[in-house]
Symmetry: C2
Subunit: 343 residues, 2 copies
């Protein structure tokens, strides 16, 4: 018999992706795997991306640094994790009372946002691609009811980032706690409230057992976008058709991650409601004070941070146009459909 | 000198896509070109799709038949164009008071909708892929104000499909007119009202010059999805990695077409408002009667059409869960943001 020829089926490109997320946040984490599988299928395994959970290579919040330094070729993360470096990172994810999921996609793909963010990321040696969205998040779990803005004074709430800054201006004392530390702190009363994501992820952590008041909306995250951040030098080395495969797969992960949350959250919400969870809308005076505080933060930041100002000036115009349009057909139809019950 | 070797760079697969849309509907039509360009770039030109506008190969509303018969390999169309064959086609696009754009994507990708629709399309020798969405459409242009449901009686309105059936039950006389025939009919008063798409497409046709009342929301199209329909035998012949390239590119076209409308509609709306257009919300009694009529149509159809019933039973459960969830974080935040003005 004749020996089969030894054809080397070695992949020509092998990348490592570090995720900012643990596998337990399966919907967000899964966007990295969606990208990796699709790119491999398209290229017949010649372009392989191996996905690592937060902590396997570097901690979740060091994903950007790992890409910038070339430790890995890319990461899956949320821009607003890096507002400590520069508040302008938030435009790649979400800002309080900013853009919804669809508006963020419109801004990135057709509203000039992609170019602005790529200009910004360039100094970090990174090229960004939208890579998923959770949609508007819930407002979090409270041990006691918040009847008005006055009840916020002194409230210890787990909420990081610019959202935390907004709550601080309302009188709260924001806390930064990792996911696993929230439940015991809520249970003991070390904190009074905590925000996480939405019904699907919140239900798994069991917050409803120790804090029954589930508030909406999470006004600091109207449509938080996730991102794939790729090391610029590694990107430049890719053959053009691998770049094309990556871009298409990233866009697919962008829409399918949102769709997955949109399919899972309603089922989780129904389960939560079987556990005597009290659904409550934030009092209007709190929302108004929150929006005023958020917009003041943006103006103050723009006055002292040129990178923020450059993006903010365009983003603000875009937000204003989007909000005027979405207030018509989209929101009026939704408001009507969801409240008018037909047997 | 040595002659360069004659390497045949022939594409191995060449497909023709017939669009149901004219090039003038550039955003919708463009989804076909997005797909074609991306597939070609990924495969280094080895899988080419040539896009033809409505009428170049077959008329726009015969796109499905052309794919079914193998005249072309695929089309870009809207399922609800074929409700004359079976009302169940509407689930692949939109039904009055049904799913929004995000809910439709959730249903298709993660809610069981894809499998249900593929089972349905199988008898037409077709495999379907979501291929764009316009988002909630506007409610159309009216020569006179509609102050309540009573004003609908005898109203001649250009509105096709199930939306037209709903309006008929409200007392209107639905008309079917092609895009180019609407303006003169509105101008002469042959019709009293006409719906088209949304600000971006409506503005180009100039309806505001002959009918100043611009109503919202287009309750019969909360999130109309476009589809790529591929001949099943042609699909089966594709190499797996070409199938993968196609699927990723179709998903990309699905999100980017929506994003493009979401970026363009606000600008067009602002232009329209400079032309003394009166923006009006449909009276609540009209919306309520419309929803009741729509739901009655679905129940009646389910009682006599097994294909419709099979999909409707699942779709209805899904819609109910989605509407309960979207009524919280998403819609409450949007309603607040769009109405609370901060200087």
């Amino acid at each position: 018999s004749v020996a089969a020829p030894a054809i080397a089926a070695e992949p020509t490109v092998q990348w490592r992706l570090t995720s900012s997320f643990p596998k337990s946040l399966d919907t967000i984490y899964g966007a990295g795997e969606t990208l990796a599988k699709r790119v491999s299928d398209i290229t017949e395994g010649k372009f392989q991306i191996k996905v690592y959970a937060a902590g396997e290579i570097v901690p979740g919040l060091q994903a950007l640094d790992a890409v910038q330094q070339g430790t890995v070729q890319l990461c899956h993360t949320a821009g607003y994790y890096y507002v400590g470096k520069n508040k302008a990172f938030a435009f790649d994810a979400a800002l309080p009372f900013g853009l919804t999921s669809r508006q963020q996609a419109a801004w990135m793909y057709f509203g000039g946002g992609m170019q602005l963010m790529r200009d910004f990321y360039r100094e970090f040696n990174v090229i960004n691609f939208p890579g998923g969205n959770t949609g508007a998040q819930m407002g979090g779990w409270f041990r006691k009811e918040v009847k008005s803005l006055a009840d916020v004074k002194g409230l210890k709430m787990r909420i990081p980032g610019i959202g935390g800054e907004v709550w601080a201006r309302l009188g709260a004392v924001p806390q930064t706690l990792a996911g696993g530390d929230i439940y015991p702190a809520l249970e003991k009363g070390t904190i009074d409230a905590a925000e996480w994501v939405g019904p699907y992820d919140d239900e798994k952590l069991g917050f409803y057992k120790v804090a029954k008041h589930y508030y909406y909306p999470g006004f600091w995250e109207p449509g938080p976008q996730l991102s794939f951040l790729v090391n610029a030098a590694e990107w430049a080395k890719l053959p053009k058709h691998f770049q094309a495969a990556f871009e298409a797969a990233a866009a697919e992960a962008n829409i399918t991650m949102q769709a997955e949350y949109d399919a899972k959250n309603p089922l989780a919400l129904a389960k939560l409601l079987q556990n005597q969870v009290k659904l409550l809308r934030y009092p209007t005076d709190l929302l108004k004070a929150g929006q005023t505080a958020a917009f003041a933060i943006y103006e103050e930041e723009a006055a002292k941070n040129p990178a923020f100002k450059k993006i903010y000036t365009e983003w603000k115009k875009f937000r204003s146009l989007e909000h005027a349009w979405f207030n018509l057909a989209e929101t009026q139809l939704e408001s009507f459909m969801y409240s008018n019950k037909v047997k």
